[in-house]
């Protein structure tokens, strides 16, 4: 067991003029994660600390934060493994704050909704499953693992500078459907991403792929969409 100092960014827009940092010392044992340390602080030292939580097993996407200068899931970050006596915990940067480590995700989900994130079918449905070969299914493997944690969104300079930009997570979702062999959107979904608000705002800086705690690659999806737009418009292809 060793004492670790958590240097936590605090901010209550109703009271504070500006964010400030507060230190909490937590005795860290065994496999304690940053999320568990935040609970320890909230339970034993400061009941007012605000943060998002749910699954504590890196699948719900609630707890993306900026921890010692890196985008991480608090619940997936083992404190001892970081090997440092002092851990700085900040909310995702470049996004509007609700309080402390909680930020306002409304815009993020508005943009998600904007790309029509659902399978579009026009032909009649079979009585059983729509068949899909393992090879076709394999194409979905990367984008379907997105947990909508928004680390990528917060890390993207194009998001910082252009508030209308859909951002990497929404575009990755568009890719997830466009690349699905079962999707029959044709050009129905395309206007939502094939524009200046969409894929052309991505300058392949690839911060998103660097930030993603699930090791996904939104840039790859966005590049595919750009290529697909060309294939459809110039070559008359379906995808």
């Amino acid at each position: 067991m060793s004492d670790i100092t958590f240097h936590v960014k605090r901010f209550d827009p109703a009271v504070d003029k500006a964010p400030y940092y507060q230190d909490f010392v937590v005795p860290v044992e065994g496999s304690m994660t940053v999320l568990e340390a935040l609970f320890d602080i909230q339970e034993k030292q400061d009941g007012s600390l605000a943060f998002r939580y749910c699954c504590r097993s890196s699948i719900c996407g609630s707890c993306a934060m900026y921890i010692n200068g890196r985008y991480r899931l608090a619940c997936q970050t083992n404190v001892a493994h970081m090997g440092v006596p002092r851990v700085t915990v900040e909310p995702l940067p470049h996004v509007p704050l609700v309080r402390d480590l909680v930020w306002d995700m409304e815009d993020f989900f508005v943009k998600y909704e904007a790309i029509k994130p659902w399978l579009i079918r026009n032909s009649a449905l079979p009585d059983t499953e729509i068949t899909q070969s393992p090879a076709e299914r394999l194409k979905l493997n990367m984008p379907i693992d997105c947990i909508l944690c928004a680390a990528c969104y917060s890390s993207c300079p194009s998001v910082w500078t252009e508030e209308n930009y859909l951002g990497p997570a929404a575009l990755l979702k568009a890719y997830r459907f466009e690349v699905d062999s079962r999707d029959e959107a044709g050009r129905e979904r395309m206007p939502s991403w094939d524009n200046e608000r969409g894929v052309y705002r991505c300058h392949t800086i690839a911060n998103c792929s660097e930030a993603c705690p699930k090791e996904l690659n939104p840039t790859e999806g966005i590049q595919w969409l750009k290529g697909s737009a060309v294939r459809r418009r110039l070559l008359g292809r379906k995808k």
Partner: protein, 568 residues
Amino acid sequence: MISHQLIVVGGGLAGLRAAIEAKDAGVDVAIISQVHPGRSHSGAAQGGVNAALANHPDASDDSPQKHAFDTVKGSDYLADQPHALQMTTDAVPAIYELEHMGCPFSRFDDGRIAQRPFGGAGYPRTCYGADKTGHYMLHVLVEQAYKRAIAMYVEWFVCRLIVEDGACRGVVAYNMTKGGFEEFRGEAVIMATGGAGRTYSNTSNAVISTGGGAAMAYHAGVPLKDMEFVQFHPTTLFTTHILMTEGCRGEGGYLLNKDGERFMAKYAPKAMELAPRDITSRSIQTEINEGRGIDGKSYVYLDLRHLGAEKLAERLPGTRDLAIHFEGVDPVYEPIPIQPGQHYSMGGIDTDVDGRTVMPGLLAAGECACVSVHGANRLGGNSLLETVVFGRRAGAAAARDILGRERGAAAPQGDGAAAAAVEAQVAELAGREGSEDAYAVRQEMTEVMRIHFGIYRDEAAMKTGVDALLALKTRLKKAKLRHTGRVWNIDMIRTMELEGMLDVALATASGALVRTESRGSHARTDYETRDDERWLKHTLAFYQGDDPPRLDYKAVTMGLFEPQERKY
């Protein structure tokens, strides 16, 4: 006041499926959820969802009837048999529907949905998407909710039901991001709030699986059914109780004791590692109790090494990540230290096969409900199934009730009294005298449940446990809020939910103490056998304030299969 015809509390699989059904029927429906629906605990489900699609070469003669038999036998004959058959029959169209909505199930070479073997099942009938089935299903239903523009109140915490003239008329909820309490009024409410795993310290469940919906219904006078039946999953990580899916054993994983022995051969010679969960968990616990845990500690090994890196990457990639991140063990090279952990609440709000409760206007579906299809022990893969099957049925029933009325119900009217009552409750919490610490009470409750109402139970331990819970209830009354801020007040949420957790825990404890038999997950060392003559019946627990619940009983609906001894 906010009003919608139908209010669904919970945005997990059950709540989403209910809302989609009602919306498609033409009802104005809203989902209220403490977390964004896509973050609900359903997303943590890994291994798969059962349906007799008969896609597997070894399962060409599988059928809903056989699936129902496995479910009923797995339940140790406590499931209501027609309900189990209803679920297994609805299963097949439910899975095709999910697939049509875009659910990325894994595939066989012929392009059909892949199916894997699971515990207690006679055929490989568990459909899966690698080992992230819940995540994929949940995101598909979230997408469908957006497609339908279903109203969603995200990050609103529901605190209580509004009951007038004996009927449920809505809920009061806390607006987490903006602060303040609001009344939501409707013609019906569907509870879909998930399980109560967090009443135990050793749970695989999310931090928000606190049994809140069950507690709200219970406090309002609706009975909780079969709460003593708590599932312990055989394989949770030793240090964190994060789940290692049953799919690990479905794909051929071994359980090994300190001598490297596949000990399941002693307990379930035919099914081996794929015995049902109650039996497998008891076997592991017996190995540990008798000193055959690894290094004399309280864990055994789940060994996946022989499956090879390629198969793990294809079928169990999430499991590998979890073991590496949370236990520091790479299953490709090392066996995984595991022990059984609390996993699922078989009991819940007493409902019929359409989700209706005894209270007009109140329905329930998913893990917070008890239909009952799982009886005394749920089969792996049947819970994801339950959420979509009974979520749909509850949504349809609520829609029929709402649309079937002669004329529309009078516009709901709120005088603000219900919201004011919650505000008064919070003021009382904030103004309390006393030095008790709610978090210490919570911590002790979870340990009482783990130790006294765990895998093996007996009279003396359970009596002490009930007394301990009653004492904790008294102590909680002296615990004061630490933080009174309006916005994102976790302290308030966690203190408010604790009262309900203690009551749900007490319902489990009281039912368990009285049931003098062993059935499914309820295993007593002082009454080791099943006693159909006296105990082939459902427990109903009625809330009694400071006292333990009043218990009543109700017959199990049989009709399809005669009870037999369970051998695997």
